[in-house]
Amino acid sequence: MIEIKNINKSFGDNNVLKNISFKFEKGKTNLIIGESGSGKTTLLRILIGLHDIDNGEVLYDGRDFTRLNTKDKRKLRQEIGVLFQKGALYDYMSVEENIMFPLTMFTNQSYEEKLQRVNDCLERVNLKNNNHLSVSELSGGMVKRVSIARAIVMQPKYLLCDEPNSGLDPKTAIIIDNLIQEITLESNITTIVNTHDMNSVMEIGQSIAYINNGEICWSGSKEELIENNNKQLNDFVFASKLFKRLKRN
């Protein structure tokens, strides 16, 4: 479980996150939703340690990430798998080398052991036998799947995804969403997905936190989301005419 307590974050005079507290539960796909500029990317970057906080706590199963020393921080980071919006694959490496990279850096496994693990991960994301493709040869959906494979290769306890289906067609986006949910359930890990895609919300939203103007204004499941009476949330979720009509019905 990942818990954030009373988090504040400002950039100069701009108070981006205002005293945010929330629990991201284990074995669930936790979604952070919100408009662009609402602070959800900042929150995710705080969770993965790319931004320092002004005050508050970021607890990974009780371990406060912000107060760990460099060595322990690095250890904890190896338990976190991250899927970036643009994939963040190393373009000078092949698919196999990209996925193998964390194993090479942090384990003393033999090449055969590492290759076995890479092949298992590639099979898990339905990209078997694509080991030697270069990053430039991959489609948008394949980039995301290779990124997922790299994120899970160290068998992380926490999986954090930043807009995993941005730039993908709806069908591929759902495949990626389902893949994330399946991995979460199979491995019983804590997954956080940062998104503003309503298809994702309806597909995998087991626990949803809605951020608006730096504050968590609402939280609940996708079923509760449909029935909610929060005006700000409804304006965001049911922004299109189609969704508004569906909500009325």
Binding site: G49, R77, F84, A88, Y90, F101, P102, M105
Partner: protein
């Protein structure tokens, strides 16, 4: 002034991260061999061409200016050698390498920054500054002196060809090349080159590593890397010359 101090602070913080033991030595050496190829071997062509023509032009210009019976002919070879060793090869070639290698380093690291590849390294627990910059720094510091020594040799050959067109005999030119040779000048040249290599690798890495924004910013970072590296090289050229020769 405040911005300059901030950049200086960021540079030293980055350098403190760069100088840490590589996490996996085999990966470091693999990356070092790749950088030696990219930074060193791939610069052989441009160094060869520039050195050859600089040598040729220096000897022709010297011959043109020494067209007096008071000056012995061998002075053309002597002046060519001294110019190449003292200034043209270490400083001019370093400025050219700042353009070629420096822009390459800044744009490569800058692209990695804007595509979140550096963030991905950090999140995995990898010291990204050391992982990315240290092999480039080692490659530059190890290979630039080799390039400069090669440049001096090729420049001397170019000077000899230039002398042929200016009517100076090979015997006079070679006598001049050997005349009053001071080996400390080579040491001075190598010290300068090593310092310039350090400046090019680290200043360019700094601008790439601190890139923010998109593709446009990568281009700007690349330009800044070349401009700042060149200016710092010229400043250090003055300081080192004053310290070592004055």
């Amino acid at each position: 002034m405040r911005k300059l101090l901030k950049q200086l602070g960021q540079y030293f913080i980055m350098m403190s991260k760069v100088f840490s033991m590589p996490e996996k030595k085999n990966i470091f050496f693999k990356k070092l061999s790749l950088e030696l190829e990219k930074i060193g071997l791939d610069s052989l062509g441009i160094v060869t061409i520039i050195s050859f023509f600089i040598g040729a032009v220096v000897s022709i210009q010297t011959a043109f200016n020494f067209e007096s019976p008071l000056f012995p002919k061998y002075l053309i070879g002597y002046a060519t050698r001294e110019s190449l060793i003292l200034e043209f090869c270490p400083t001019m070639l370093s400025l050219i390498l700042a353009g070629k290698v420096g822009s390459n380093i800044a744009s490569e690291i800058g692209s990695m920054r804007i595509t979140e590849q550096i963030d991905a390294l950090e999140i995995m627990g990898v010291n990204s500054a050391s992982f990315l910059i240290l092999p480039k720094l080692f490659a530059a510091v190890l290979f630039f002196p080799i390039l400069i020594i090669l440049g001096i040799s090729i420049g001397i050959v170019g000077g000899w060809i230039g002398c042929q067109t200016a009517g100076i005999t090979a015997a006079d030119y070679i006598y001049g090349i050997k005349y009053e040779f001071n080996s400390f000048y080579v040491t001075y040249c190598l010290i300068k080159t090593t310092v310039f290599a350090f400046i090019i690798a680290t200043v360019s890495s700094y601008f790439g590593y601190h890139t923010k924004g998109g593709a446009l910013e990568v281009g700007k970072a690349s330009t800044r890397a070349v401009v700042y590296s060149s200016i710092i090289i010229l400043i250090f050229n003055f300081i080192l010359t004053d310290l070592l020769l004055a």
